[in-house]
Symmetry: C2
Subunit: 378 residues, 2 copies
Amino acid sequence: MTFRVGVIGGGQLARMMVPPAIELGIDIRVLAETEGMSAAIAATAVGDYTDLGTVRAFARDVDVITFDHEHVPQAVLRALVEEGVAVHPGPDALQFAQDKLRMRERLGELGIPMPDWARIETPAELDAFIADHGGEAVVKTARGGYDGKGVRVVSSAAQVEEWFFALDEDGRGGALLAEEKVEFSRELAQLVARRPSGDVTLWPVVESVQRDGVCAEVFAPAPRSAGRVAEMAARIGTTIAEELGVTGVLAVELFETTDERLLVNELAMRPHNTGHWTIDGSTTSQFEQHLRAVLDLPFGATGHVEPWSVMVNILGGPADGDLDAPVVAASADQPTAKIHLYGKEARPGRKIGHITVSGEELDEVVFQARAAAAFFQD
Amino acid sequence: MTFRVGVIGGGQLARMMVPPAIELGIDIRVLAETEGMSAAIAATAVGDYTDLGTVRAFARDVDVITFDHEHVPQAVLRALVEEGVAVHPGPDALQFAQDKLRMRERLGELGIPMPDWARIETPAELDAFIADHGGEAVVKTARGGYDGKGVRVVSSAAQVEEWFFALDEDGRGGALLAEEKVEFSRELAQLVARRPSGDVTLWPVVESVQRDGVCAEVFAPAPRSAGRVAEMAARIGTTIAEELGVTGVLAVELFETTDERLLVNELAMRPHNTGHWTIDGSTTSQFEQHLRAVLDLPFGATGHVEPWSVMVNILGGPADGDLDAPVVAASADQPTAKIHLYGKEARPGRKIGHITVSGEELDEVVFQARAAAAFFQD
């Protein structure tokens, strides 16, 4: 008589689903890739998520399967669905998060604003696209990229030569995605949750600051977004969630252009770094809402409890790997800072935690969050 | 290099320490009394907390031992301390929570305001106390009582006859505690946390409403408490925490009398039902602060994030034992309600969860919290 959720993947997103599961009385189980991962406290199984037998056995004792990441193969997902397992988000939606070319094609059909793009099969096609777009293009592998991996800004096809070799070797008729390099004034993100029964709920649109292709800071709500920008972002997020049949949390990363348009950059069909502020800053966090969504429970309220929340990622961590001293120092210096650590070892560039501060004055909140996070970085 | 906390006792208080431990990156381990308890997700051991060998083995792999309850015998606690184990709160402080007569004696020495009381060894002494206090007294067993158990309002010693028999059989020179029945206008509670290094932090004083000796509702902060009442409560709480050497969270239950005095009713040296609102309503919850305190980490901020929070206990639960349907109904009806379930089966009178709502208007917040909780009760 208890709701049971099975999460595939043992990373920090699975880890952060555990606290709201405990509070709501949900029995949460994690299929982790290896021992000792971020979500180890709830890891009831360790195994290969590309192996149908492993995933099928894990799915046997839960009400619904959901994900820490988007890498479970379509064949595995479709086999589960055929066997009657509830999978949210399902394979029909996930294919658009797994394949950026399919995503661009589908968003195009829906008339969603996005950068100019093209399917690229040969270096000549890429060079032509570059020539048509001011001598530069953003090239992406269709699959497997995240946090800036599989993304390159190039001025010549030769700069992604090995990606073309890889396509040839793969031999499955794959292609690269080329996009215009958008002149944006800032990046925004719209977080949405949708239930299988159809309800959609949204948090306020946020501003995200990226460094080296990785989310560094998030301001919630996005400054100067009230009104038109917030409405556009909400409409885009709702349309994508509904038309792609997303269930669970969806994050839509957006460019705000210098001429005040919003263009869709990337999609993620899971809780997302740009939504971590909701743990402390919203009545219902993205992690609780994701659990509610995949179980088809009514949504919690998504208002922000203080006027501003700012999240700063802890990237890499201290060189000596000691996270205890920074916890002490950051706590003493910034008692309003909410410290979140992922149980991961410090390593250059790695997301090992984040800090959120909420309050009434944006300047103060930004200062406090950055000051606390600075203790975790050399 | 990770902070490790061992919690003795697997009830809901241990359970609610798990989410902040996960967020802060603390390795939390629980010694549970049996399998399948509230804190099962963190239960790394199951055993008898009155057995020194069991507790010693559990303590070996943690930095500090703390508690879900106050029932670990002094002999066990003192043996651990002698062996160099960090125990918070320590036995010197815990004795006052374990023995109400010692507590009254010590508070008397400190000049803390409290009801008239007496140490009672014979029925004749109790009848004399009753006669001196308007024909009524509150009689308590010195040890082992909680949630109204071990407490009786009597007009004659004959009404606690079996407690005197038990004292005689025990043969250790025990005694009962008699207290005047205070004419109070309401009950308040002051939540405090203190670190081994001496820092003390407080949350706003709250009003608690008891039914049948059990906490039913909490209003935070206590209405009409700003100024004098809040200052008195804070002074009493701070004095007790410091003078009794409490480490961790301390809850001081208070009577506010019709003539506007505050009298100490009970003490609890652990997170407390009157502090559950802090999970959703304060920047730092009592559970996170307790972990910080026992690890001697700097405290988090204790401000309330919205003007009002109201907590309503879920007592007993539905007769059919099904908690899924109430979760659905309460969520649909009251999306601002934060639902907390303890993983316990419904049983008459049992605390199986609580609801907290926070917001700007007290009337609305009370209504929403009660409406949500009502779905869990027949």
